[in-house]
């Protein structure tokens, strides 16, 4: 125990002694949280709109002003010809073009329904579809007479439909992942590069003690970081966990088994810091993109969905969002928690075994 304490002390001193690394670990996460929290919206708003109104009737003008008043669209161009409409889309000046043909209001009164052509820049297919959905809503509000059926929608857990509510909890675990993976994968390699690992291995310290002495400070550090991030999320985004904080911490503790284990594994395999960083980088990108953080896993092809089962972040992502937004108790999250625990144990043991081979 005394030995472990001594090792922990040493590790803390090292962390504080490298001013660049220490500051980086402290400031980068907070900057990330704030910038990402504001930028990570999959919302579609301020879509630039070009209009070509050849009808010029009261009906068409009314429609255009309804579009102008919508929060989702910004009317940027009034053009006089269909060709100009196409051109403004091609030149990235507008994302949606509305073409109201000359016979719009005439057909509307004679045939009961007037047609409008909507040109959509579908380079981003999703955005095009959402924008078209908004247009349909606006137009149907304009045109449908009192409907016999009234639909009442209730948005549960997030009545204001804030996209940050979904993203910020995700960012919290993302930051924890990046930080713990980075420090764990760098720490051992540095000792290898400098030759201090050899010195440690001739002391009477056992490998178990060495690993505990390495990882416990990181564990502590991760929880301090987590507490800070949660507090900042509350201050900046007015978001606090709806569910039990204690259960959240417990889930993170299990999750850290995976990330710290993976970090240790990387630093056992890599021989230089550069290699460690490259591998850690790849693992990070892999984990983040296949976690459901911004690409829902259900959308992926089946073989890829199976691969995501190897990704601990995938389970943690679901857990943190469930607890944060829906106050789901852990008892309903066992289908996520158990695989997470299994992965954690597996990765951790693999890393300990590899580590023991490295340090002869």
């Amino acid at each position: 125990m005394r030995i472990i304490l001594a090792l922990i002390k040493k590790e803390f001193r090292q962390l504080v002694a490298d001013p660049f690394f220490f500051r980086f670990l402290l400031i980068a996460p907070l900057a990330q949280l704030i910038v990402l929290g504001f930028s990570l919206t999959l919302e579609t708003s301020n879509v630039s709109l070009a209009v070509c109104d050849l009808d010029r009737s009261p009906a068409s003008r009314e429609l255009i002003s309804a579009l102008e008043n919508s929060e989702h669209f910004v009317l940027t161009h009034h053009v006089l010809q269909y060709q100009e409409l196409e051109q403004s889309l091609r030149r990235w000046e507008a994302a949606v073009g509305i073409y109201i043909p000359p016979d719009f209001s005439r057909r509307r009164s004679t045939e009961g329904s007037g047609r409008i052509l909507v040109l959509l820049d579908s380079v981003d297919g999703n955005k095009a579809l959402t924008a078209f959905g908004y247009l349909t809503q606006i137009v149907s509000a304009e045109s449908v007479s009192a409907s016999p059926v009234q639909l009442t929608y209730r948005y549960r857990f997030n009545p204001e439909l804030r996209s940050e509510a979904f993203m910020v909890p995700g960012i919290v675990v993302l930051i924890i992942t990046i930080i713990t993976l980075l420090i764990a994968s760098m720490s051992l390699v540095r000792e290898k590069e400098r030759g201090t690992l050899e010195q440690l291995s001739v002391t009477p310290i056992t490998k178990g003690q060495l690993i505990a002495g390495k990882l416990l400070p990181f564990l502590f550090y991760a929880f301090v970081e987590l507490a800070i991030i949660l507090r900042v999320a509350e201050l900046v985004f007015r978001l606090s966990p709806a569910g039990s904080i204690l259960q959240l911490y417990f889930a993170v503790l299990i999750y850290l088994g995976s990330t710290l284990g993976l970090g240790l594994l990387i630093s056992s395999i890599a021989s230089t810091q550069q290699q460690a960083l490259f591998i850690a980088w790849f693992c990070m990108v892999f984990m983040i993109l296949l976690s459901g953080f911004f690409i829902p896993i259900d959308n992926m092809p089946l073989w890829l969905q199976r691969i995501t089962l190897l990704n601990p972040l995938r389970f943690m992502m679901t857990i943190v969002r469930e607890i944060y937004l829906k106050s789901t108790p852990l008892s309903l999250l066992l289908d996520q928690l158990l695989p997470l625990g299994a992965l954690g144990v597996g990765i951790f043991f693999a890393s300990v075994l590899t580590f023991q081979k490295t340090v002869k």
Partner: protein, 364 residues
């Protein structure tokens, strides 16, 4: 003369470390394959739970029209608690048809339908709402309980008719991978020489500072261009992404973009004190802005103004317009004049800054 020697020396460096070279070629290819398939934003089917308390021919007909839609997977429950269903992740939405739904409808009174949506993911919640809305509207029109809408919108999805995710993401991934690889490559070159002490030798040799910088950039330019070309080729072959504009223009812009990344890396390497610092700076300064502030997948126009302004300084933002323009929209070089000029300005500024800082360092 000095330039040629430095270029030769860098080439030897690159070829000697074949392990890193393999990583450099393999990682981007794995990434484009994996993420080209992963990056689909199409909505999977909506898990809809129906609580039919009316249990009439009308309500069953309504349920049938949901079953007929490919967008929904349907389940019926009696008196379901929507919150509980959402917490178990068994439903995206719960539709409750109240007891007197059909009665109200026949009497010509306003009938009600209650829909609970799990809105924890707000954007998905909105789309779910749209899907449900359109099924119910179609149903009402088909049974003659609603008028045809007075305005019919006819959509034309341009440039990407099938709204394929790969068309959107292959250019984006190219932009991300190229700038990361390029910046990481060169960010280490000078710091490594500093750390290993070989820099002092360079300082004593009779070469100009611009020769050193150019001599370090050019070999990596070739390497980065090779990797970039490979990624684009993979995207075209694997995901059938078209190139509707000029291929020559594509190659030229790719070259300029590589140069931007490399000169940014060189700039970092003149600033950073250690290899570790250089790598971390290169990683953070390229990965995050390119992912989040370039239009990679998050729409810039939906962001708050300060972030929009920051995004003006992200090179990938311009490159994405160029790449998507050339591949999907078939833009001409003239139509891409503004983003093209912006990219060239970036490389020029980075390079000049790097040379100046480098010269100051040499003379110190």
């Amino acid at each position: 003369m000095g330039l040629k020697a430095i270029i030769l020396k860098e080439f030897k460096h690159i070829l000697r470390d074949y392990r890193t070279l393999i990583i450099l070629f393999l990682l981007p290819l794995i990434m484009i394959v994996l993420f080209g398939y992963a990056m689909s934003l199409e909505l999977s089917s909506v898990a809809l739970v129906v609580d039919d308390r009316d249990d009439s021919s009308v309500s069953r007909e309504l349920i049938r029209s949901f079953r007929g839609s490919a967008f929904f997977s349907l389940r019926e429950v009696r008196l379901g608690n929507s919150l509980e269903l959402f917490r178990r992740r068994e439903a995206d939405a719960v539709l409750t048809i109240p007891e007197n739904f059909s009665r109200d409808l026949f009497r010509g009174e306003t009938a009600h339908l209650d829909i609970d949506i799990d809105a924890s993911d707000a954007s998905r919640g909105l789309i779910v709402r749209q899907y449900i809305n359109s099924v119910i509207r179609t149903y009402l029109v088909s049974v003659g309980n609603s008028d045809l809408p007075a305005i019919e919108l006819v959509p034309a999805f341009l440039y990407n008719q099938e709204r394929s995710g790969a068309f959107f993401f292959v250019p984006a991934l190219t932009a991300l991978i190229v700038i990361m690889v390029a910046a990481l490559l060169t960010s280490l070159t000078i710091t490594r020489e500093k750390e290993q002490g070989t820099f002092e030798l360079l300082r004593l040799s009779p070469v100009h500072s611009y020769e050193i910088i150019l001599g370090k950039v050019l070999p990596y330019l070739l390497l980065a261009l090779l990797i970039a070309g490979l990624i684009v080729l993979f995207g075209i072959l694997l995901f059938q992404v078209p190139v509707r504009g000029s291929i020559t223009a594509l190659a030229v812009y790719l070259l300029i973009y590589c140069l931007t990344g490399l000169s940014f890396g060189i700039l970092i390497s003149t600033v950073a004190g250690s290899q570790q610092a250089a790598m971390l700076i290169a990683l953070i300064a390229t990965l995050l802005p390119t992912l989040f502030l370039s239009g990679f997948m998050f729409q810039l126009e939906a962001m708050p103004r300060p972030l929009q302004i920051i995004s003006l300084f992200v090179p990938a933002r311009y490159f994405l317009i160029i790449l998507r323009g050339l591949m999907l929209k078939g833009n001409s070089v003239r139509e891409l004049l503004v983003p093209g000029t912006a990219l060239m300005t970036f490389s020029f500024i980075f390079l000049v800054l790097a040379i100046r800082r480098f010269r100051a360092y040499l003379e110190s």
